[in-house]
Amino acid sequence: MKNPLQNRPASGRRRSVAWLGIASAAVVLASVAACSSSSGGGNAGGTGTTASGLSTIQLVYDWPGVDFEAVPIAVGQKQGFYSQHGIKVNLVIPPDNATTVKMLAVGKGDIGLDSTVDVAFARAAQIPITSIANYTQENNWGLVAKPGTAINLSNLRGKSIGVFTDSWTKAMMPYVLKAGNVSASDVRQIIFSDNDLTPMLAGKIDLATNTTNYAIAQVESATGKMPSVKLATEYGAPNVPIWVWIATSSWLSAHGAQARAFLAATKEAITWSIAHPQAAVNDFIAAYPQNGSSAKYNLDGWLATIPYLNDGYGLLTQRASEWTEVVNALKAVKELSTSYPASTYYSNSYLGG
């Protein structure tokens, strides 16, 4: 019969060893996951060749859901622009709105669509990303309110504003706050992962933030009317392109020809889509039925995007001044610590192929 007085409870020694085991297992798992994604970094990618001799390009989208900004991509695939230039484009959807750069950097993608601000952040984090072309050419981000509602910047205190967690929103919000002469704690920024326009229309929040093409598409589909918008450029934000096409410098040095082919074909696809918006949208819906939106929404959205594609300097063409403004804007709101000369962020040499 054991002496119960010798029955001591389990000591901390066993507990620590258990922690050690579990934590080591977790690190091992993490490293295995990291290994499988880091294949020596940079250029192995998915670039391969199809049976018909076309080179495959993995194109990583900017947002975790395909939408009407991918219309030219669908057109390029369906109308044969890409195959005519010897390439096949696979659209890859990232897991969230901040991973496109990382996927390119570890070789899970070849070319990406992302924001100019993400390029600046990537370079600051020592990731060698180059912007090879503009997509939209102007800053169409702003505050959005219900149709017919005036947006009064002097009245921001205490208002609820829907925001997203992407870098563009983060770069633009300080301009909003500054224009309204309020600090971040004076307003209620409500973070959404997916859609802040529907809550705004439902009256759950006072204002939404978004770009006009998405705002118009959403609000028109829902109410039949145009939303009330106040563009950030009206109150001090720089008028710089939001979306650009990007790739890592190592991939570009190995696949420059494919980059050129992609941009040339995409340019043709964009031109075609501008000329035949309805047909273009139909191609998009057929190629990407998972977009989850109505045909009207997609058409409204594409039509609202068209005005921003050419700022007079030519489709896709970049200028150094744009990059200077992006970098300066970020530094002014203390979001960027390390910056480089504007010319190092982009290259136009893959255009006009």
Binding site: M1, N3, P4, L5, N7
Partner: protein, 254 residues
């Protein structure tokens, strides 16, 4: 017997078509120590449950001081093989359990419990938890819990069955000395003939299922008894008689 303390009157118990007890009768006088001995499954525990009020018999009565208490609880003290001490209560806390369950334990109850514990050798363990005590000590606490109820009749169902032989013997001797002080009427259930003979004034032999009291043996050994009673000649005589009654024709050589 004039003025008996506890009367078990022709109790029949049937559950689910099984007849557990078939007309068991037994009478206990004031201050008597009576053991019930029988083979496993003979219904000892059922009889026990009937007397304590947990089970209502199909037929028959239980009388305490002449009053019918069949099926009623709270009249007797009760102790099992398991000590059933609450692990979250100290020794004192467990002793006052009866009071706690009835109306709440008072300071007075606890003081009496402490005195009880000291008297029976656990005065240094008043604030110990049960897990820190040995098996024998725990059973003593259980016994004190039973005593604290101040009931005149105590039912003890194989209380030392889970203890090793040495401890069991010590507990038996301890019980003998304790009973000298109390004037309780005790009904003791066991399968151990030696134990029954050592402790009791009378031993009732029960048959196998369905259980009846087959025989009632008076133990003539003188009190006060100690450990030497176990090896006295009188003991063996009684034991021979008991074993014959218990196992009868089955075990005698033919």
């Amino acid at each position: 017997m004039t003025d008996p303390k506890l009367v078990i009157d022709d109790v029949r118990c049937e559950f689910d078509g099984v007849l557990a007890l078939d007309g068991a009768s037994l009478t206990l006088g004031r201050g008597e120590f009576v053991s019930i001995v029988g083979p496993s499954g003979c219904g000892k525990s059922t009889l026990f449950n009937v007397v304590s009020g947990l089970v209502r018999p199909t037929q028959g009565r239980v009388l305490l001081d002449g009053k019918d208490v069949t099926g009623g609880t709270g009249h007797v003290g009760y102790m099992l093989q398991k000590d059933l001490l609450l692990p979250w209560r100290t020794v004192v806390g467990n002793i006052v359990l009866g009071a706690s369950l009835r109306r709440g334990a008072t300071r007075r109850d606890r003081e009496e419990a402490a005195t009880l514990a000291e008297r029976y050798g656990l005065g240094d363990f008043l604030n110990h938890y049960p897990h820190a005590l040995s098996g024998g000590m725990r059973q003593r606490v259980a016994f004190m819990r039973t005593l604290a109820l101040k009931a005149d009749v105590l039912l003890l169902d194989e209380p030392f069955g889970a203890l090793d032989a040495q401890t069991r013997l010590h507990m038996q001797i301890w019980l003998l000395s304790v009973c000298r002080d109390l004037n309780a009427t005790i009904l003791f259930v066991t399968h151990d003939v030696d134990e029954a003979i050592l402790l009791s004034d009378r031993v009732a032999i029960m048959t196998g299922r369905p259980g009846r009291i087959r025989a009632d043996l008076t133990i003539g050994l003188p009190r006060p008894r100690g450990i030497d009673a176990l090896t006295s000649p009188g003991f063996n005589a009684v034991k021979r008689e008991s074993l014959a009654l218990l196992h009868g024709a089955e075990l005698s050589p033919t």
